[in-house]
Symmetry: C2
């Protein structure tokens, strides 16, 4: 068993910068430790949410630490499209991630990456990690930016009890009910509730929040995390209602994390 | 207002390595980006969970990027002891963090740090961040290790819906009930449930989990995160029950993150 495991490669979970698709990019060394960059530079086998963005990321790595192989020679396998949106956490989702790990079974170290941030956190990838555990492949997460935790820390909301619930429903009345449910949970248990939205819907979500939430509930919206100037605004709902416009133009167009709490 | 804000300093949330108090330490550059190290090196005003560990951290920074001032000359204010354990998230906790930010009001950039990991996430500090927002001081979180997210990603559990609930109760029967409640929540909603324990109680917590949880619930225990060899074991409870001993000796003595899910 020990011998088997030693003969296998390790699956590295490689975080990437949060500026994917943004106009401005932070220098890679500002947001990734040297240790993470060094591992990314030496891996030749990747499992990726999107091969194109992985190649763009690895070109940024190459500018700091030369890749062991040219980008064109890397093996980059993409996760199937259908798990991007619906999530890949269902234990019996019907999709078998194990074939993606064939190289690791043959002794190659592999990297798992998403488009931005930590793979398998608010992003696809967990099915690959579960498959690695099933196959006896060691899993090593590397340090890098995690937008949810940057936002939670910057919000000033309770970081000792919190939940991330993904996207809220799109239908207006279902969404209103969900907002009230999350507020009740946050106020009754003290558990901060974090959620996200597709950027072009940020302004509409904020409007819905300001309509539904109680005046003394605290609402934080953090965007442009790791970018300068990043922006985290954390106010009581009554104070948000005084702002004109409530959301800065920057935040309206960027990926943002929303959080509410007492 | 804009002028006022520009005259104020920024509150940087400075993550630190996870190896506080551990026998082995990772090289700082392996776990902190150059950008985080550079900011830490230039700050002269700190708000800290523990001044001694902050000085030890800054000596490691100094070895890579010379500090703008000698460690002895830095102003390090400690958070009051009573909020360490009970948490500082209560909006009306009676404690006013604003005086700690006096230097920022006078234009100095300041750093907030905990003993290990991200301040204000599973650690004290959120009251200081809330006070900064109240005073119109910009808050900038920096990238570094967050044990909860490293563990969540490495667990293979659902990272698109999850909660961190802190410590479980110490009393055996209350704890057993809480374990069953968290399992019900995880199985009914698909929301992964994360929690932590004081290291010397890890083995006892694992015993309680193996007694209470259903055989097909998935349980992950991750310790030594960012250290080599770190260890994340993620198995069905029925498979955990086969292991002898269930917890590796390493994990039994180290800070660990526990997670359960379907």
């Amino acid at each position: 068993m020990t011998t088997d495991r030693q003969a296998r490669g390790t699956l590295y979970l490689v975080p990437t910068p949060l500026d994917h698709g943004c106009e401005h990019q932070a220098p890679l060394a500002d947001v990734l430790p040297q240790g993470t960059i060094a591992v990314a530079a030496r891996l030749s086998h990747w499992i990726s949410e999107n091969a194109k963005s992985t190649r763009a990321f690895l070109k940024r790595v190459d500018a700091l630490v030369p890749l062991a192989q040219p980008v064109q020679a890397l093996q980059i396998q993409e996760l199937p499209r259908q798990i991007h949106k619906q999530g890949d956490h269902r234990p019996t989702g019907g999709w078998d991630a194990r074939p993606l790990l064939a190289a690791a079974l043959q002794g190659q170290d592999m990297g798992l990456v998403s488009e931005a941030g930590m793979p398998a956190v608010a992003d696809p990838g967990s099915s690959v990690v579960r498959a690695a555990h099933e196959l006896g492949i060691a899993v090593q997460p590397l340090v890098g930016p995690v937008s949810l935790m940057l936002a939670l820390a910057a919000s000033g909301l309770n970081g000792q009890n919190f939940a991330f619930v993904g996207y809220l429903p799109q239908d207006a009345s279902t969404r209103a009910a969900r907002i009230r449910e999350l507020e009740r949970l946050a106020r009754d248990s003290g558990q901060s509730q974090l959620f996200i939205e597709t950027p072009y819907r940020n302004a509409a979500l904020l409007q819905a929040l300001l309509r539904q939430l109680k005046p003394d509930t605290r609402l934080a919206i953090c965007s442009g995390l790791t970018l300068a100037p990043g922006c985290c605004t954390s106010l009581r709902v009554s104070d948000w209602r005084q702002r004109t416009p409530p959301l800065a133009t920057d935040a309206a167009a960027q990926p943002a994390v929303f959080a509410i709490g007492p």
